[in-house]
């Protein structure tokens, strides 16, 4: 064996170890959720769906999941509307201070969530917005809208203005041009942005933890509490379901985003 191939094998082995490290937590949850007994064993002594049943028949888990889905769906709609309108203004508009707005848009991605959580709690509590769906959708939309703007404005930038100009020259109104020409062309990017926004809301943990009420709590808050106080395999069952759903959605979003890009080579 030459020294070159030894080096190559060592490199691959090292990489494989890191890849195992990366996949380990995700891969360990699914077998745990199928374990028949109370404690977490690996490998599980047998297979059972009891924790999935426990999840599906526990009113507190189901309520929290439905609440999270509701918040995420409303956040998705709000982010797509506000974000797409904003992207059009940023890319096609004559906007003073455009760069400043673009920089501020990235703030929700940089500012540590704990600071947002505490600040928003202080703002929402006196107004009675904590633990309400309005409160959740407001802050989740603020956190999710940058993803929509980033993806949609990138798609708009790739779109030659000549297409719209042709429409305008042929007598179509601005709105018709947008509806008939621009929107169909940026639709894949908008869809990708919608998925990102939905997941950003559904996954959001820290802010949701602080503004949840006793009645309305998100599933991330419920999970956080259960991890801290009673480590039951129901969490593994719920996590497995969410991970599978998330991966499916992300595959859709990425395929959609790729479809909106010009073909490379």
């Amino acid at each position: 064996m030459t020294s070159r191939s030894i080096g190559e094998w060592a490199f691959r082995a090292a990489c494989l170890l890191v890849l195992v490290f990366l996949m380990l937590p995700t891969l360990i949850i699914a077998p745990m959720s199928l374990s028949p007994d109370n404690y977490l064993h690996f490998p599980p002594p047998g297979l059972s769906l009891r924790w999935y049943r426990a999840f599906l028949f526990a009113p507190d888990w189901i309520d929290a999941t439905l609440f999270s889905l509701q918040v995420a769906a409303l956040t998705m709609v709000a982010s797509v509307l506000i974000g797409t309108a904003g992207s059009v203004a940023l890319v096609r508009g004559r906007l003073p201070g455009r760069q400043a707005i673009e920089a501020l848009l990235l703030a929700p991605l940089i500012i540590p969530p704990i600071i947002v959580a505490i600040a928003v709690y202080l703002q929402f509590a006196p107004l009675g917005l904590t633990g309400t769906i309005t409160g959740f959708v407001l802050i989740h939309t603020a956190l999710a809208v940058p993803y929509v703007v980033l993806v949609v404005s990138a798609a708009l930038q790739r779109l030659p203005p000549s297409l719209e100009l042709a429409g305008l020259n042929l007598g179509a109104s601005r709105l018709t041009c947008f509806r008939r020409i621009v929107l169909p062309l940026i639709a894949p990017a908008v869809l990708a942005g919608a998925v990102f926004a939905f997941l950003a809301s559904f996954d959001e943990t820290v802010v949701s933890f602080f503004i949840s009420g006793t009645e309305h709590k998100t599933v991330t808050r419920k999970m956080f509490e259960d991890i801290e106080f009673n480590l039951s395999p129901v969490i593994a069952a719920a996590s497995t379901l969410f991970v599978v759903a998330t991966i499916a959605l992300m595959v859709v979003a990425n395929a959609s985003r790729m479809a909106s890009k010009p073909q490379k080579n």
Binding site: R4, G7, F11, C15, V18, L19, F21, L22, M23, L24, P25, T26, I28, I29, M32, L40, F42, I82, A85, G86, A89, L90, R92, G93, R94, L95, I101, L106, A107, I110, I111, P112, P113, I114, I115, V116, I118, A119, V120, L122, Q123, I139, A142, V149, L150, A154, P161, L165, L199, T205, V206, T220, M223, F224, I227, I235, A236, V243, T246, M250
Partner: protein, 288 residues
């Protein structure tokens, strides 16, 4: 129509009122739910209980708080170094030509990225907890009599956070390596350089922007990390984010929580703004 108006329309631009109308909801939402509350939180740190810098004096003089800040910096630094060491080879593998390895690597990097930090922290508890997978296996194998204390230590936080932040190191380096012209390493090899020399003189220097972006991103995110230290660190391994939450929810000392937030914000935003050219956040989010 005026000349400028026509010129504007000709470039397909929107008029100013329409532009403002379209952007108004976005700006209003971010201002009211995001910037205003954060501004108010930071302001309370200098106005309450009395208008002074007392909160900051307290933060910088009490040994407990200084220890938390030092621990946060050390853990963030440790995460950055370990993510770089683990992430560079993986990024190199992902950027290689071929089908099998790059695909496998991409899946292994993206699937954890799409799994929530909460779920992953839970998985680490299940792995390293007192009744976790590792302890049970070691006891069953007769290697140890008492379970090892791995959870609620700085090491647990370091491992959990490195795991969560690793994709943010891999993706920028991958992106830098991918944009490296394939001719360059080949030219070096033709001119007689060995693999090590080609890597050290050609590939590594040209991938440094990606390395730098990855390190910065991981370090900044690690500074403000909350979920993992809260779940894997326990009360003995406080970091800045968990200290903020403790001051706000247990001590109910909001102005002091505001002061710590200001320090954390200055560090994370300061670093991001100072190095924004290398960071390219838009790219990381879209992970092309």
């Amino acid at each position: 129509m005026t000349t400028t108006g026509r010129a504007t329309a000709f470039r397909g631009q929107l008029s100013l009122p329409l532009t403002l109308l379209l952007i108004a909801p976005l700006v209003a939402l971010l201002a009211w739910t995001f910037f205003l509350p954060i501004g108010r939180l930071l302001l309370t740190s200098v106005t309450e209980p009395t208008p002074s810098l007392d909160n900051y004096r307290r933060l910088l003089t009490e040994p407990l708080h200084l220890r938390v800040m030092l621990r946060t910096l050390l853990i963030a630094f440790g995460c950055t170094v370990s993510a770089l060491l683990l992430g560079y080879p993986v990024a190199a593998l992902m950027a290689r030509p071929g089908r099998f390895w790059p695909k496998l690597t991409a899946i292994c990097v993206l699937v954890p990225l799409w799994t929530s930090a909460l779920v992953r922290s839970y998985a680490w508890i299940a792995l390293i907890g007192r009744r976790g997978v590792i302890n049970t296996a070691l006891i069953d194998a007769g290697l140890i009599a008492q379970p090892l204390n791995m959870l609620y230590t700085s090491a647990a936080v370091l491992v959990g956070m490195t795991h969560i932040l690793l994709p943010f190191m891999v993706l920028p380096i991958f992106s830098a390596l991918l944009s490296l012209p394939a001719d360059l390493p080949r030219a070096a090899a033709n001119l007689g350089a060995g693999r090590v020399r080609t890597f050290l003189t050609i590939v590594l220097p040209l991938s440094l922007p990606g390395v730098f972006a990855g390190c910065l991103l991981v370090f900044v995110m690690a500074l403000g990390f909350y979920i993992t230290p809260a779940l894997l660190g326990g009360p003995r391994t406080l970091m800045i984010a968990t200290l903020i939450s403790q001051q706000a929810t247990e001590a109910l000392d909001w102005p002091f929580a505001g002061a710590i937030s200001t320090v954390l914000l200055l560090m994370s935003v300061g670093l991001t703004v100072a190095f924004r050219r290398v960071l390219r956040l838009d790219r990381v989010v879209a992970h092309d």
